[in-house]
């Protein structure tokens, strides 16, 4: 497993745990929109808070403001990209 795959798996586990989704992390698609109720996971504002706080705890990477949040918290892929660019610890 490459570092990218490890990171991706951890991100999926984190999302499933934070949003208390009733699916396996592996079932989560890399490009599923996090907030779209029809095409994606339909997460809400409390889920955002859980994910942001836990990304910080797990990977040591902050999502400091709304602008960054809007870019990063779109899909699993965008979160992984942000973590890689920020030198996240895995």
């Amino acid at each position: 497993m490459s570092n990218d795959d490890v990171l991706r798996t951890k991100v999926k586990e984190l999302i499933v745990q934070c949003a208390r989704l009733k699916i396996q992390p592996s079932e989560l698609k890399d490009d599923s929109p996090l907030f779209d109720k029809e095409k994606g996971l339909g997460l809400d504002s409390i889920d955002v808070l859980e994910i942001v706080v836990n990304i910080e705890k797990t990977f040591g990477v902050q999502i400091p403001d709304r602008e960054t949040g809007e870019k990063v918290l779109q899909t699993v892929n965008t979160i992984v990209d942000h973590l890689k660019a920020s030198g996240a610890k895995t």
Partner: protein, 308 residues
């Protein structure tokens, strides 16, 4: 636009933008006794032509009296319920008039008095750590006035709120005059980023926590029966690591407010869900005490126990 629980709860023939605009104009432009007089008349009409809201308050007051005065004979209790419901409607009129004045152009100093009650130094100490806090209030007294009182005391306040039918324009004016910030959370999940940033920069988040706005609610004891309370405030407190200060702004005499700050509630524990439930139970108990002491200004027009 919000189409959730709050949207339905606040549906009323008076809760429309033209009425709010007219009320603001009257209270801002005419002598105060005229404005408050017209408000009294409109409130009297509202009392007679709002059967659903009247029934909602009646049910709530009846349960409070059953719980706080169990020995009260039923006929006497019903007489007290009727009297209190009438008073609550008229106090709601006063609430509207006071808020309209706060939103307008009048000089507020000297017109309103905010007396502090409780140990405000605890909040000051919390803010001196550089982290913010959550102030949790209820539909009791003038919650907007509470925000104004805090801001006037130099506390950086941000109100976390939902859109509603008409009041949000007036809310905005009151907030702008008092230098209170606002964040709407009903339509934008990313608003939570603003909330995290605010808490980290030492702001106080003010929230109304006595109605289950969305599906994330938990039933906790409230006047002897389980009632749904929103989970959001305790979850935000737990995740951000900040305390919750229950706070209320009530009045006994016209425009003489008492801003009550209660002891903080921490949301801590090895089991996060249990910690949230415990904190919510404590919060409901504090609200219960304040509602019982200030029943004539408890403005909950929907039955507090029906949803649970």
């Amino acid at each position: 636009m919000n189409n959730g629980a709050l949207w339905d709860h606040s549906r009323h023939w008076l809760n429309i933008r033209p009425i709010y605009a007219f009320g603001e104009w009257v209270l801002d432009s005419m002598p105060l006794f005229v404005g408050y007089g017209i408000t009294w008349g409109v409130t009297e009409m509202a009392y007679h032509f709002s059967p659903d809201q009247r029934a909602g308050i009646e049910a709530n007051v009846r349960q409070v009296l059953r719980h706080t005065q169990p020995a009260l004979e039923e006929g006497e209790r019903e007489r007290q319920v009727k009297r209190l419901v009438y008073k609550i409607f008229h106090n709601r009129g006063v609430w509207f008039a006071d808020l309209s004045v706060m939103a307008g152009r009048r000089q507020l100093s000297g017109l309103f008095n905010f007396e502090k009650s409780g140990d405000w130094r605890v909040l000051e100490r919390q803010l001196s750590t550089g982290r913010g806090a959550i102030v949790a209030s209820a539909h009791l007294g003038n919650w907007h006035g509470g925000g104004v009182a805090m801001a006037r005391a130099g506390v950086p306040v941000r109100v976390v709120m939902y859109h509603n039918h008409a009041g949000d324009i007036m809310d905005r004016k009151v907030a702008q005059r008092a230098n209170v910030r606002q964040t709407y959370i009903d339509s934008d999940p990313m608003a939570m980023m603003e909330i995290v940033r605010a808490l980290r920069s030492g702001e106080v988040l003010a929230m109304l926590v006595d109605k289950p706005w969305d599906s994330r609610s938990v039933a906790v004891p409230f006047f002897g029966k389980p009632s749904l309370f929103p989970l959001g405030p305790v979850r935000v407190a737990r995740l951000a690591g900040v305390p919750i200060f229950p706070a209320f702004c009530v009045w006994d005499r016209p425009r003489q407010y008492r801003a009550i700050l209660c002891d903080p509630i921490e949301v801590r524990g090895s089991d996060p869900i249990e910690a949230e439930h415990e904190a919510l139970t404590k919060l409901a108990r504090v609200i219960e005490t304040q509602v019982a002491s200030n029943l004539p200004v408890w403005f909950n027009f929907t039955p507090a126990w029906s949803a649970s």
